[in-house]
């Protein structure tokens, strides 16, 4: 029971981390809280369903979902966020809420208000560890998440691109004076950020076997709280905060879940932690990792 909750908590936390990382990277580079990122999560899930129906392939579903959402992210930054960036942080925030709402309505019109299923078969065995069953889907989520985190850590820490991203996040103007193409940096970060959210969407769709137009509602708010908890813009803090919330809500729901629904527990925990540490758990910048 304990171990089963641990595995499920890590799985949920990893999904949160995939989503929140995208949001956190985008925040780091533009200082915009991009609610529409949760729209990419839902978009990924729908593209995943369609791709799976056509090909019966879970990994093509994952790839297609991420690719289409990347495109959305690139278009949004290029034609919406960057042009209105000069008007201060509130304007892009409101624009992103508008985009998120519009996307939800678009999904509802295109796919109907129903729950679609994504019963993809994952070619991973069900593993038994110390009497606990770890499902193939859980394994897949954990593997994708670990690969993504390792890849991003390597990118930020060890490559020149990562150096340029961190520099741009810290001081756009100086980065520009040094010849860094900040427009291209911003574009690439949105490509990655939206791909991560969409990957989370496809994995959630497989995990719960359900996709609906409003599935992004709860993540939209929860991710905001998580990146604040993780210290706004710090990728390491974001992952840590995501795992923490995943674990807390799973454990509390398992033991005292009859009192409160799961999401309420997550938010109660977030409020409690932020009351104690208003600056977040890891208050550093994206550049500070």
């Amino acid at each position: 029971m304990l171990l089963a909750n641990l595995v499920e908590g890590m799985t949920i936390g990893s999904l949160y981390a995939l989503m929140a990382l995208g949001l956190s990277l985008v925040y780091g580079i533009l200082r915009v809280l991009d609610i529409a990122n949760a729209g990419a999560y839902t978009l990924g899930a729908y593209v995943g369903v369609l791709t799976w129906r056509l090909t019966s392939s879970w990994w093509l579903a994952l790839l297609a979902g991420a690719a289409v959402a990347s495109g959305l992210g690139w278009l949004l930054q290029r034609h919406l966020y960057v042009p209105i960036l000069a008007s201060g942080p509130i304007v892009p925030l409101i624009a992103s809420i508008g985009v998120f709402t519009a996307l939800e309505e678009a999904y509802r019109l295109l796919f109907g208000p129903y729950i679609l299923k994504l019963p993809a078969r994952i070619p991973l065995p069900t593993v038994r560890i110390a009497g606990t069953v770890v499902s193939g889907v859980q394994l897949l989520v954990l593997m994708v998440a670990v690969a993504a985190f390792a890849g991003i850590a390597l990118l930020l820490d060890r490559t020149r691109t990562g150096l340029a991203w961190r520099a741009t996040a810290q001081d756009r103007e100086t980065a520009e004076a040094m010849g860094i193409d900040v427009g291209a940096v911003t574009g690439r970060i949105f490509l990655l950020g939206y791909a991560l959210a969409a990957a989370a969407g496809v994995l959630v769709a497989i995990h719960y076997n359900a996709v609906s137009p409003t599935m992004g509602d709860m993540p939209a708010y929860k991710m905001l709280a998580i990146i604040v908890l993780g210290g706004l813009g710090s990728p390491f803090g974001t992952v840590a905060a995501s795992l923490l919330i995943g674990l807390v809500e799973t454990f509390v729901a398992a033991y005292v879940g009859f009192l409160l629904p799961r999401d309420a527990i997550a938010f109660a925990a977030l409020i409690l932690i932020l009351l104690l540490r208003p600056q977040g758990l890891f208050a550093r910048g994206v550049a500070a990792r």
Binding site: R158, T159, R160, R284, A287
Partner: protein, 279 residues
């Protein structure tokens, strides 16, 4: 052909004219200083050259090519490196990372090349080591830039600007806020640049510091060029002395503090040989 040509540049902010009809040229390999009292328009002029300020009138050419209207990143990629008056390092990156970032910037435009692991880029790593040594920053190479003192920050600014192997280096008041012990090593580093064949345009408030380094001096006052000439001509120019009177005449006195240890008059390198002291 001169490397840099500034032609009739005027910058107006609302009612205020910060720079008015300024023209001058910088030859390849030359070391030119722009001096002038506070508010003379030095930094504004600098920003026009670097692309971060659009002039109201006039234009700037680099190697014959008009660069007015280009973005700072584009100007930088054409070979103009700059430092900032207020040092702006990437504070959470280490000193080495700050330089390395600039050292391999030609790759930043190419997505895949820049995804290679950093330590595989030997050329950039070598250039970085060399600059760390030249600017005396080896000992603090692994420190975060936010932990440096003012003197080290200035040197990092120069190392970072040099890392891009600029055709033209713009130095914006590198000596500002430094004491004598900070200025001395800085002077050595900037003096060495000449030996490396770098073309330098220095903006400086510290007159003594600028005159001791430059081949040629452009004097700005209230946005206009009031004198151009060799350092020793400038020292004696009555218009220049008048422009500085009341504000910082002490800087035109003999043996100014900045180039400490160096007697006014014959400068190292032997240029302006035999010319006497200050006016």
């Amino acid at each position: 052909m001169p490397l840099l040509e500034v032609e009739g540049v005027t910058v107006r902010f609302r009612g205020l004219t910060a720079v008015e009809d300024v023209s001058f040229q910088v030859e390849e390999g030359e070391f030119v200083a722009i001096i002038g009292p506070n508010g003379a328009g030095k930094t504004t002029l600098f920003n026009v050259i670097a692309g971060s300020q659009r002039p109201s009138r006039g234009r700037v050419r680099l190697g014959g090519r008009i660069i007015t209207g280009l973005s700072p990143a584009e100007v930088s990629r054409l070979g103009v490196g700059r430092t900032f008056q207020i040092a702006r390092p990437f504070g959470s990156l280490t000193v080495r990372e700050n330089i390395l970032l600039a050292a391999g910037r030609e790759q930043l435009g190419r997505a895949w090349a820049s995804l290679r692991l950093r330590h595989h880029d030997r050329a950039a790593a070598r250039a970085t080591e060399l600059l760390l040594r030249r600017t005396g920053l080896e000992a603090v190479a692994e420190k975060r830039a936010s932990e440096l003192n003012v003197g080290e920050l200035r040197r990092l600014e120069i190392a970072r600007a040099m890392a891009g192997r600029p055709r033209l280096l713009l130095l914006d008041e590198p000596a500002a806020g430094l004491g004598v012990d900070g200025i001395l090593p800085l002077r050595g580093i900037i003096g060495d640049l000449r030996g490396q064949g770098v073309t330098v345009l220095l903006v400086e408030h510290h007159v003594g510091f600028a005159l001791s380094l430059a081949d040629r001096v452009v004097v700005l006052d209230q946005g206009r060029v009031i004198a151009v000439g060799l350092p020793d001509q400038i020292r004696r120019d009555p218009r220049v002395i008048r422009a500085y009177l009341g504000e910082e005449e002490q800087e035109l006195e003999p043996a100014p503090a900045p180039p400490a240890g160096e007697a006014p008059g014959p400068r190292e390198g032997g240029r302006a040989e035999g010319v006497g002291g200050l006016a």
